[in-house]
């Protein structure tokens, strides 16, 4: 079994949902509040994970553009839950040592007084280990 | 060639609508399978009482196979679903009692699957032949 296959299986396993259920309607991307900011849109995550094309997803900043609002999860008619793939790819990326998007010491500079507490906590969870 | 080559006795219950027709098709296509297989025609696989299976073993059958329409295609809509549960449980029980589970089988054969019927029978006869005579479930009175 090749490495990329393993990666695919890992991503699917950690996502816990089945990309083959996708009927490619695009409602996830339609509903995504941040879709136009993303290089790879939610529906592409599903499709590319199914193809095993995971490297490009790991190297795009789309994985950090996802707000984890779960609108796509809520509205997907087939129970594919695209956000879980995005999360899974992000986790796969972060788990590689030193590949964090943000380092902990970078964060104080980015903080804004008006930023809600919850967002700060989420940011720590999402962008670092 | 061995003189006393073991010839198993195989009873095949076939439902009238799919598997019996599949067996006919195997014949029409001249597909060979061992003469050890003898077919009993029943209206539906759900007509096969577990008692018939035991009776066959009692009377010295070495293997019993039940063939019916594929699940979902039953002529009587639901018959083979019931047969499936009954036979699964019966076979599991026989296995639990230490009877070789390879002597029993359920196979879904449609009226169009003559080749599958012949292949199934070839395979089943080979399996049972390998096991040899049925000694664990037979009534000695019935054995000549």
């Amino acid at each position: 079994m090749s490495f990329s296959n393993n990666l695919k299986e890992n991503v699917i396993r950690s996502a816990g949902v089945d990309p083959k259920k996708c009927m490619k309607c695009g409602k996830c991307t339609a509903t995504c509040p941040n879709g136009n900011e993303m290089e790879y849109k939610p529906h592409q995550f599903v499709y590319m994970v199914e193809k095993g094309d995971i490297e490009p997803l790991m190297n795009t900043d789309s994985i950090y553009k996802c707000l984890s609002c779960f609108a796509c999860v809520e509205r997907c008619p087939r129970g594919v839950e695209p956000a879980k793939f995005i999360e899974a790819v992000r986790v796969a990326k972060i788990r590689k040592q030193g590949e964090n998007h943000l380092k902990a010491d970078m964060i104080p500079d980015l903080l804004d007084e008006d930023l809600p507490q919850q967002a700060i906590v989420t940011a720590f969870r999402k962008y670092s280990k | 060639m061995q003189v006393n080559e073991f010839k198993p006795k195989i009873v095949a219950f076939c439902c009238n609508w799919c598997s019996y027709a599949g067996a006919d098709l195997a014949g029409t296509n001249r597909l060979n399978y061992p003469a050890d297989v003898k077919i009993i025609r029943v209206p539906c696989s759900c007509r096969v009482n577990p008692l018939f299976v035991l009776r066959a073993f009692q009377r010295g059958a070495d293997g019993v196979i039940i063939c019916g329409c594929h699940p979902g295609d039953c002529h009587y809509t639901t018959g083979n679903y019931y047969a499936r549960r009954r036979m699964t449980l019966l076979f599991s029980m026989l296995d639990y009692l230490g009877i070789e589970k390879e002597r029993t089988r359920v196979e879904w054969v449609s009226a169009a699957e003559g080749a599958k019927f012949a292949a199934t029978m070839n395979d089943f006869v080979a399996t049972v032949t390998k096991l040899g005579e049925n000694k664990r479930l037979e009534d000695l009175r019935c054995k000549k």
Binding site: A30 | R47, R55
Partner: protein
């Protein structure tokens, strides 16, 4: 003791090539009970059959075994031959020594040996055969059609044309169904009313058709050929025999604020109403939920203005019972409720409408007199977004996992008609797939794109946000891989369709099976698509699955053909190989009835004399011969062995087993 004759067929060389037929015939002579055994070139030929007939007469045979081809081939032939000389046809057994012997074995010794065993097995079975007679039940020559939509109307017309009386039961005050609400029909764009209303009139005027409108089926008893149906005629507070349908009452009624269901609540009607101008029967109905007279006892305007004196405030629900030989289910469909689809803002904005509402908005008899106007402000919309697959192909709880089949085509129709009437309107259609299998269907869809300039976008709408007098539609365009935002004036949702809610309780009454989506199941998905597995119940239209009008009409006529085929018979011959319960052994445990797919088993309390001369009442199973199909599921589920199958009895099958294993 049986006197058995054995007849071995050569089938030319088909059998004789690998089976020593003479040896088989000879071996059979020594079998217990065999008094005659012979072989012949072609047993199925006239000469061969004569050998059988002569032997039956000469040797007073009580049973015969024909060793020949498959029983699926010639069992009927030999049964007929036996019957012609007075032998019960069920005393004939076939040993299949061609398909299951001579054709699959190559050497004579093997073939002959197996043929002898097969013949012996058949002899063993004949020993236990009993003469069987098929029961006969008279057929009531009248059909019932439940549902008065295009499916029900077409079925009724076809049955009536064949000369049989047929009743239509329709729950609404008029027949016509969904098609009466539709404006135009794809792919020819002829007006629905122009082709439907003549059929409605035909149905009303046909001597053989009786329409029970505003009525429901409330009980079904009996079985194929002999159903007894109770029909509830709901009180409409108008004497049907007197009302002329002049409509004066519907103009004078002071209660004007009743949502008009025919226009899907987009306008209002009176408490006494005729659903639409071409209603059949054209009789007024009082809506008891809104009528002031019925609620408070004060008003009576309709009664005063009615010159025919048809108004009767004291009318009660009436139950009538009628006998039928066949029942056709044509209960149709409804669009699903969209209250679970908040993302499309259906309940928030009046300008988000369903496709059926769009039909009414474009219909000349609709709330806007055919002008396409926004329900909120009556303005002409300039940008319309159509969303397909709303609730269809949706595996969530609120949706339907299946494709609703008709939406692609009617959306193309709506888009095309909009562009034709109002070329200044921009029309967007969001689709997952465009499914157009059907005659001239894909051409129709391409015309919408190529000739009418409808924007088809592969993608889905994610959210509709009402903002001012606009609807902000956020969607995806998967081909250009971008998100779109469209400020639309009107959003039309192609809601999934589901079986009518009345279908489930009806199925229970009819003991007709349904799938998990509440569509009726057909007896065979390919070969018996218009029959229910329950004998005598037939399926017409969308109650069996999503269908467009041509398909519905085709199925309606097919169902009618099946009904006619049943009704032309004076008596129905039942299957002779039916289950039978021995009441002395029956426990009355109901397990047999649970596995019966045909509801052929019922229970009666019967009094038994006990050995001590007391009597005891026990519940015992009774099989209805007319309904039993002879599968045998019940025989195996019966723990006491009370239930057995004629022609394939426990003892017969075990005798076969014994003979094979000898």
């Amino acid at each position: 003791m049986q006197r058995i004759g054995v007849f071995v067929c050569h089938c030319g060389t088909n059998i004789a090539g690998t089976v020593d037929v003479k040896a088989v015939a000879e071996a059979m002579k020594y079998e217990n009970g065999v008094v005659f055994s012979t072989d012949y070139q072609y047993m199925c030929s006239e000469a061969g059959q004569n050998i059988i007939k002569d032997a039956i007469k000469e040797h007073k045979l009580t049973g015969i075994v024909v060793c020949s081809c498959s029983p699926r081939m010639h069992e009927a032939t030999f049964r007929k031959a036996a019957q012609s000389v007075g032998l019960n046809p069920y005393m004939v057994e076939i040993a299949n020594i061609r398909e299951q012997c001579s054709w699959i074995h190559k050497d004579m010794a093997t073939g002959t040996e197996k043929a002898i065993i097969l013949a012996r097995t058949a002899v063993a079975k004949v020993h236990l055969n009993a003469p069987l007679t098929s029961g006969e039940t008279p057929v009531v020559k009248r059909a019932l059609v439940i549902g008065g939509g295009i499916a029900g109307i077409q079925t009724a017309l076809d049955i009536a044309d064949a000369g049989f009386p047929v009743d239509i039961v329709e729950k609404l005050p008029t027949i016509g169904g969904k098609m009466s609400q539709i404006d135009k029909t794809f792919p020819t764009l002829d007006c629905a009313a122009c082709i439907l209303t003549p059929k409605m009139v035909d149905a009303a005027q046909n001597e053989n058709i009786k329409i029970y409108s505003y009525s429901e089926v409330s009980g079904v008893k009996g079985f194929v050929g002999n159903f007894e149906v109770t029909i509830k005629r709901k009180a409409r507070f108008v004497d049907e025999t007197k009302c002329t349908g002049c409509g004066l009452c519907t103009e004078k009624c002071p209660q004007k604020r009743v949502p008009n269901e025919f226009n899907l609540g987009m306008d209002q009607r009176r408490a006494i109403y005729i659903p639409f101008a071409q209603a059949v029967p054209k009789i007024a109905t009082i809506d008891a939920d809104y009528c002031t007279m019925l609620k408070t006892g004060k008003c009576g305007v309709c009664s005063k203005v009615c010159t025919a004196g048809a108004i009767d405030y004291t009318q009660k629900d009436e139950f009538i019972t009628e006998k039928y030989g066949a029942i056709v289910v044509a209960t149709g469909f409804n669009p699903i409720k969209l209250d679970k689809y908040d993302e499309y803002a259906y309940s928030q904005s009046k300008d988000v409408i369903t496709s059926l509402e769009f039909e009414r908005l474009t219909n000349a008899a609709g709330p806007t007199a055919g002008k396409l106007l926004r329900p909120s402000d009556g303005k002409h919309p300039h940008k319309i977004v159509f969303v397909q697959c709303v609730g269809s192909r949706d595996t969530r709880e609120c949706g339907k996992s299946y494709c609703s089949k008709i939406c692609c085509m009617y959306t193309a129709k709506h888009a095309m008609l909009t562009r034709e009437k109002y070329p200044d309107t921009e029309v967007y259609v969001f689709y997952i797939d465009v499914r157009t299998p059907g005659k001239n269907f894909d051409e129709f869809y391409r015309r919408a794109v190529e000739e009418y300039g409808v924007h088809y976008i592969k993608g889905m709408v994610g959210k509709v946000i009402p903002e001012g007098d606009k609807l902000i539609v956020r969607a995806s365009d998967l081909i250009s891989n971008e998100q779109l935002t469209i400020d639309a004036d009107l959003v039309v949702l192609a809601a999934a369709i589901e079986p009518d809610k009345t279908a489930r309780p009806l199925a229970t009454m009819l003991t007709a099976s349904m799938d998990t989506n509440d569509f009726f199941t057909e007896a065979h998905p390919k070969l018996r698509p218009v029959e229910s597995p329950t004998a005598g119940i037939f399926l017409s239209g969308a109650c069996q699955g999503p269908k467009d009008i041509p398909e519905t009409v085709a199925q309606a006529s097919a169902a009618a053909a099946k009904v006619i085929g049943l009704l032309v018979k004076d008596k129905m011959k039942n299957n002779a190989c039916v289950a039978h319960s021995d009441e002395n052994m029956c426990n009355g445990c109901s397990n047999c009835a649970k596995v019966c797919a045909y509801n052929a088993i019922s229970y009666v309390d019967k009094e038994f004399r006990m050995p001590d001369r007391t009597t005891r009442v026990r519940r015992v199973a009774v099989v209805n011969d007319a309904v039993c199909q002879g599968c045998g599921a019940c025989t195996v589920t019966c723990p006491s062995g009370a239930m057995d199958l004629k022609g394939f009895s426990n003892k017969q099958i075990m005798a076969e087993v014994d003979a094979i294993c000898k």
